[in-house]
Symmetry: C2
Subunit: 359 residues, 2 copies
């Protein structure tokens, strides 16, 4: 029976601006803006919000020359290294590199004769290139050879791009292999991790609405991370990218790889619950939304398992029949009643945070 968390696979290190990716560096959390890149202010505002929520590297779409022209200003104001996401047009990649982006996401196989100029620009700017295969855009000959968008097809499609860069003596490469199928994703990254030592960017593509997407991303990304595979990740959810941060950090936290902010454990409620647990959990989550300190909070609505769980947490409350008991490090510190339960617990949370910060 192997350990739940296997040792990290060794990869070489590439630098995305100030952020090293791969090797023994922490698994990085990425996202992608949903704003119009040509709108500098709105884009920088979203990047800033993502940074506050724990994003470490951000990608922006660069669909045209106007978007490329906005990059210099975005990069100057961005608190995070910015990666330019470009399809088909090598001139946009050269412009992005010259504008000061920290990385390029482009597939060398799609830009023909422009490749040499793109590689030269990336080398001059000392920035990496992420190449990748997406199950929706695998070349026809590979699809034919592999019998469909299989893990082998994804790996071969990505390696084709890798080889083009290697042929130009360029090695600052990251690789992604994206499918909307979890088993295909897992098998593809596993295979790639045995073939190359470039850092791997994990993601399940087109993962869908938040709740479903969180499940698919947790499964696909989480199974790989547990096997020691993956150097950076992006959770893809339709909608506000801030939610991607919640899911990304929860995956890393649940596996014990990295933590950011408090872990809130709460019981699912049942017919035994006699307090407004959902209201209490919501209040606690909102109250702690911007706290990056690492500790555990238990919010329990049950006198059966509640005290046991609350006792294990750094701070916790176990409620029942209109009253609650607040624990700190296993000791009862206060009993609270009725309406005062929520404000009293938030007050104890603040006191707990003040105390731990003053140590």
């Amino acid at each position: 029976m192997h350990a739940v968390l296997q040792p990290r696979r060794k990869t070489r290190v590439v630098h995305v601006g100030q952020v090293p990716v791969g090797g023994d560096h922490p698994v990085r959390v990425q996202s992608m803006t949903t704003t119009d890149t040509r709108d500098v202010d709105t884009t920088v505002a979203q990047i800033t919000a993502l940074a506050r929520a724990g994003c470490e590297i951000v990608r922006v779409a660069v669909p045209d020359a106007q978007a490329a022209a906005a990059l210099a200003s975005i990069c100057r104001q961005s608190p995070l290294p910015v990666i330019a996401d470009i399809h088909f047009d090598g001139r946009l990649a050269v412009a992005a590199a010259e504008a000061g982006v920290a990385g390029l996401r482009i597939n060398p196989g799609n830009i023909g004769a422009q490749l040499e100029r793109v590689v030269d620009a990336a080398r001059a700017a000392a920035i990496p290139i992420r190449v990748g295969a997406n199950s929706g855009s695998i070349p026809k000959d590979i699809l034919h050879q592999c019998g469909g968008p299989t893990p082998e097809a994804l790996v071969e499609a990505a390696l084709r791009h890798v080889r083009l860069l290697e042929d130009h003596g360029f090695a600052a490469i990251k690789i992604s292999l994206k499918s909307s199928s979890v088993p295909v994703t897992v098998a593809a990254y596993r295979r790639m991790s045995t073939l190359v030592d470039y850092p791997l960017h994990l993601g399940v593509t087109e993962a869908g609405t938040p709740l479903r997407g969180a499940v698919k991303s947790a499964l696909g990304i989480g199974m790989l991370l547990a096997e020691g595979i993956g150097d950076t990740l992006r959770v893809s959810l339709t909608g506000d990218p801030l939610r991607e941060m919640t899911v990304a950090w929860e995956i890393l936290g649940a596996l014990g790889l990295r933590r950011r902010g408090p872990e809130i454990v709460s019981c699912p409620t049942c017919g035994r619950t006699e307090i407004d647990l959902e209201g209490l959990v919501d209040a606690v989550e909102k109250h702690l939304a911007k706290i990056a300190d690492v500790f555990t909070v238990a919010v329990m609505g049950c006198v059966v398992n509640g005290p046991g769980e609350a006792r294990e947490a750094d701070i916790g409350i176990a409620g029942g029949r209109g009253c609650g008991v607040i624990f700190k490090k296993g000791n009862v510190v206060r009993k609270v009643h009725g309406e005062s339960m929520i404000p009293a617990f938030l007050e104890e949370l603040d006191r707990f945070l003040a105390e731990r910060r003053s140590v």
Copy 2:
């Protein structure tokens, strides 16, 4: 490199009402009501809603004699087999068995001399008993021996209950091992699966708010299912248990173990998106909420990867610049514009469903 999905571990079969659990039977989806069990109508209404959303076995809390007295009426009206969740009080378990429940959730070690009567009642009713350990309620001597709520401690705590039932010649047992830690959960079930062949009920306890809880459950439950471990599962989320069904079925579907309802793949949107993708996805998800048919729908906001993904789906739409292309099985069937995009796609979905049902 082992397969992503390992063969299912062989367990013996127990019957929860009409629903067989274990052996080669599908991994079952369970939930627990959040209503007051004494309120029969509200409880039956929630069970009925859960059944429509894909729940196969439901648990209700039985905290007192009044709740036990409500069980006969609940069981008579419930579309699902009902399991009575009881702590400490063997008399409630006997009453529940006599009231017609399809299973008991009770820990034999907690009911002292009443155990024999409970076992007799379960045997007379031909119903199984689920025993389990929760990291919040492990006996002190085991905690001391194992140095805390470790996987070994969880397994030993559960086995103590199992042995008490075996001593009474009772073998219709299911086992759960619940922790709020994903690695502890995974290690505990792995260990248990090597020691006994009773069906295992999977769950990560106190998983928290929906998005975080979905991540933890997907990781803990999903990693085990991928290893072939687990015969029935419950996703614990604070709040409305209907959301637990979405997550449970998404875990099973994403791993390719079981499917219920359409799989909706949608892209995460980016600066390249030129349509209201989130609105379109929401409309599709709502439109298909009650459909149990199994097929794939792609809702893509991008002209780069969109058509490729949409082509792989049974039905899909790829939109950009205020217009969209609808695909069925890889063929373009219709082009739509502006405001009419959502109603036109929903219309095509209905047509698609009517056609596939008429085959």
